[in-house]
Structure formats: C-alpha cells, structure tokens
Amino acid sequence: MGSVGAKDVPVLLSPEGLRIDGRRLDELRPIRIEAGPLHQADGSAFVEWGANKVMAAVYGPREVHPRHLQQNNKAVIQCKYNMAAFSVDERKRPGLDRRSQEISKVIGEAFESVVFAEEFPRTSIDIYIEVLQANAGTRCAGLVAASVALADAGIPMVDLLPAVAVGKIAGKIALDLKKEEDNFGEADLPMALVPQSGRLVLLQMEGHMTADELAASLDLGVRGCRDIYETMKAALRARYSAPGDRGGAA
C-alpha cells in the first residue's frame, strides 16, 4: 500500500457482504447493560457496546446548582457527557470541548422530551455520562446508559430511550458503525427513538446520503433501536430480581 500522504483506507465490506468485524450490514455489535452499579448515585448504568464502555450516573431530582437555572414550573435536566483522557488511542485532552458540549446538549434535550419534569418543580435532574473507552457511537451508548440510569433512579418518564447510529460504508447502508467504519465511511446518522410512540427525539447526520438512503437508514435504525430496547428492559429486570450483590464495597 502507498505510504505517502493519505491514510490507508481499509476494506470496509468484503465481497461476501461482511464487515471488518464479520458482521452483516444490519447487525448490531454485542451489547451488555448493567443497571445500578453505582451506590452513591440515585440511579446508574454501565453499558458495554462493542468496544465502547460507558458509565452513566443520575442524581436527583435535587436542589438546583447554580440557583439561577431553577425553573418554577418544572425540573431542569442537566446533562454532562465526558470522555476520559484514556478512552481513545491518542490521549484526549481532558475536559470540556465543543464536541462534548454539543453531545451533552443533544442528549439532555432528548431526555427533556420524555421525562415528566413538571412533577418536580424547582429541582434539577443531573445526568453524568462518562465514556471510559470509545469506539464510535458513544453518544448513542451514553444515551442508552443514561436512560437506564434514569429508570433506575425511579424518575417518571414516557419511555426508555434506545439509540443507535446508522451509517454508509462502501456505498451501503449499515447499522451501528464501529470506529474504522465511522472514520472511513461516507455518512453517520445517530438517532434515539421513543419506542412507545415511534417518535425520534435525537437525529443528527454527518456526511452524504440520498433521500432514499436516508429513508432506508431511518427504517434500519428504528429496527436496531427496538432490539436495544429489549436489552435495556432486560437489564432493569435483572437489577431488581437478582439477589443482592450491589457491586463494590457497600
């Protein structure tokens, strides 16, 4: 392969239609969700999704800090998405950056549309999402983790929020991109679904797609979300029926 300038583009799709990790186009990476691993938080969840590892903690409803953000008629939802410095191959500069601010905002807004915030006026529901290991699709993994954590915190809401990204690799629509596919693919389209109503509460897009491809992607994504929804419900069931190992020192 050439060594000057451009990076080597890996073969994203084999002639048999398999992806670099052997998945078919409409296949998700393996997901494992654990509800309630943290003691201190009102609710928490840990998600391993492919090579992603994401922890989410929910506090509240509780007093609002800083005070001026307080709303008289409902709870404010404050979401903070953060990537650990060690979560990617090359050390990420820790702290807020434009990307994490954007993701915090869109995830927070997605939850604002499902949480019954009016039940807790003048309070704050704080969501913290920590990405420990990243391999594309962390905003979706973070959203899934936060959603399970909110349920674990006993916060009333319309529904759980499964999320997944659909993308375009080697000219084909593919579900749940991993890192190489995200880096070298043509498009990336993360979405979050309210399964009960079929409404999308998060939809972003990067790259290029035709209108037909977009429609096909949405269909594929919604199907993926419904699979993830089942995994999320199973995680919550396991948390509240399993014998009492609450993980870690009590």
Binding site: G60, P121, T123, D159
Partner: protein, 229 residues
C-alpha cells in the same frame, strides 16, 4: 394510550381491581404529610434551618417549629450544619416546598449513634408488619433505632450492635423485594449473635483483639443464605 395503561416509573405491578397500583422499586423520597423523617442540617439562616431529608428539595425547619426558645439570629446555637434531626412533614405546597416541624413526640435532635441509608422504597420492609421487623432486629441486637420514612435509619447502641444492625439493613435494602425476608433476616441475626457462640453477650468495653471472633463467625454463616437463591 391505545386502551392500555403504561407506568411512568419502574416498579412492581399490583392489580387491585378496579385500580392498578405500581409500587416503585427505586427513586428518591417523595414526602407525604405526617411522615416522620430523619434529616441533616445543610444550611443555617437567621430564622430557619434547611434540612436534607433525601427529598427532591431541602426542607426548611422554622425556629418556631422547634421545642426550643430560639431568638432570631441565634439559630446556630441550637443546630449547626451536619447535625441530624428527627422531624415530621407537616405540609406540602404545589411548588414542592416541604414544611417540617420538630414539635411532637419522638421528634428532636439526634445525638450519637449513626445514620444508615436505605432506599425509601424499602422502609416498609425494615418496619415489617406492625413493626415486626424492627422488633426482631432490636430483640436480637439490643440496639436502639429510629426509622425515617425517607429511608434514613438512626441506630445507637454498643458498636457491635450498630455493626450488626447496619449489616441487616444493608441486606434488607439489597434483598427487600424478594419473599421470605423475615426468615432470612432472623437466621442472619442468629448467625451473627455473639451469645450463641459463648452463652453470654459480651457488653462492649474496649474488647480485646480476641473478641473479634464474631466477625469471622458470621462470614461462613452467610454462605448458605446466598446459595439458596
């Protein structure tokens, strides 16, 4: 929605025709008037204290709501940040403001002891039917304890008793939603009871290192308990 009813919180379904009730499995303490709760002081103002009772908001305790003769500006002489109190929820307004009082039987400042936290959803299991679980725990340990509806439990007694009670509370918090709890707690208490080992309860008095034996005794005793699930 579509002729179906959906729950907004995670919980256990309890159909009681014609009603359906969802018993929450988790969540913060939602105050109800009349609840006796345990709180800690988080802020001191001229005429009131703010209490953290584990609810969505801090509850103001006005100086007139105490059995003491408090002068304006002297609130800090009575309660300081970090102090623990037993108070009763008097009223709630639609904005979520919680009114509490310290006037009443069994209410007041807590001195000594320790406060254990359990999920508010588990309080019913700690109290037991007509207080049966509390009775059981107190009989076996000789500790003193006050259970707040908000999931905070004040425990006092000799250090060994406190240790055993908090362990039992943790078990209830972990396993409280499964059946057969009372039996399991009784066997746990019996297993950790020092009197079973040597026929006489050692009152704590700077126990020598050899008295640590009960700590090891209860570990193997817990195994069968964990295994039969």
């Amino acid at each position: 929605m579509g002729g179906k009813v959906y729950a907004s919180v995670l919980g256990l379904l309890q159909p009681r025709p014609p009603l359906i009730r969802v018993v929450p499995l988790s969540g913060r303490y939602i105050p109800q008037p009349g609840d006796v709760v345990i709180g800690t002081v988080t802020d001191v103002q001229g005429t009131f204290w703010l209490l953290d009772i584990g609810a969505p908001r801090w509850a103001p305790l006005h100086m007139t709501g105490t059995p003491w003769d408090v002068q304006v500006g002297e609130t800090e002489k009575f309660l300081r940040v970090g102090d623990a109190v037993v108070v009763q929820v008097e009223n709630l307004d639609p904005t979520g403001r919680i009114g509490v009082t310290m006037n009443g039987e069994g209410l007041g400042k807590l001195d000594g002891g320790t406060i254990a936290r359990i999920s508010p959803a588990r309080v019913g299991r700690v109290v037991g039917r007509k207080g049966s679980m509390i009775e059981t725990i107190l009989q076996h340990t000789g500790a003193r304890m006050t259970v707040g509806q908000n999931g905070r439990v004040w425990v006092d007694g000799d250090p060994e008793a406190i240790r055993r009670v908090t362990e039992v509370l943790r078990t209830i918090d972990d396993e409280g939603m499964r059946p057969g709890l009372t039996e399991r707690i009784e066997s746990l208490l019996r297993a950790s009871d020092p009197t079973d080992e040597r026929g006489r309860a050692p009152r704590f008095a700077g126990a020598p290192p050899t008295d640590r034996a009960p700590l090891e005794v209860d570990e193997p005793a817990r195994e069968p308990d964990a295994g039969d699930e």
